[in-house]
Symmetry: C2
Subunit: 114 residues, 2 copies
């Protein structure tokens, strides 16, 4: 079966700046026993996802393009780019910010039970 992604526009995602486009491969809340989210996320220029956490879930995301600042808990932020894998363990608070005011920051995000 071949499907298209489901597009969702988010303003100030999780209390962050600007806006993001989500392209869901797995639709929200489907398969919640294992994988809750598998999506391409595009952070528009000068946008961010605000600080939040997921209980009992692990989230890796893989940077496809752009430059971002990835922060976990109160650790110093780490600059990330294409090919980097950002890991969020269950309960970790995290944010990611698009460092560019002209380019998108795009990534593949996965959230699974752990």
């Amino acid at each position: 079966m071949v499907t298209k992604t489901v597009h969702e526009h988010r303003e100030q995602m999780r209390g962050g700046k600007g806006s993001a486009e989500m392209y869901h491969i797995i639709e929200k809340d489907a398969n919640s026993d294992t994988v809750r989210l598998f999506s391409k996320i595009v952070l528009n220029p000068s946008s961010s996802i605000g600080r939040h956490q997921h209980t009992g879930e692990t989230e890796p995301f893989y940077i496809l393009s752009g430059r971002g600042l990835f922060t976990v808990n109160d650790e110093p932020g780490v600059e990330v780019g294409p090919g980097d894998c950002c890991w969020i363990a269950p309960g970790d608070e995290h944010t990611i910010e698009n460092l560019s005011d002209s380019e998108e920051l795009s990534m593949m995000a996965l959230i699974y039970k752990k």
Copy 2:
């Protein structure tokens, strides 16, 4: 935590043609209770992944670039390109072939228990 992918070169993957490059975000055999594989896969020009199946596992993959022919069981192949989501249900036999002799076919693959 920020990590790099683990690169694996595969010749005649699953009995297919040519070669593929796998870039593993989740290392093989990690988290085998939920997610077994989360990787970027690049099929080199004129290459394919041969017909195979996964028991008790669901596999979506998301096409990033290139043109492919995706086949499930004995159904007619479907031509796929960037933004398409290819779905393989548990037990389904499947193949994917890069239709170009000059461009890569790249995709994000996920395999999880279901």
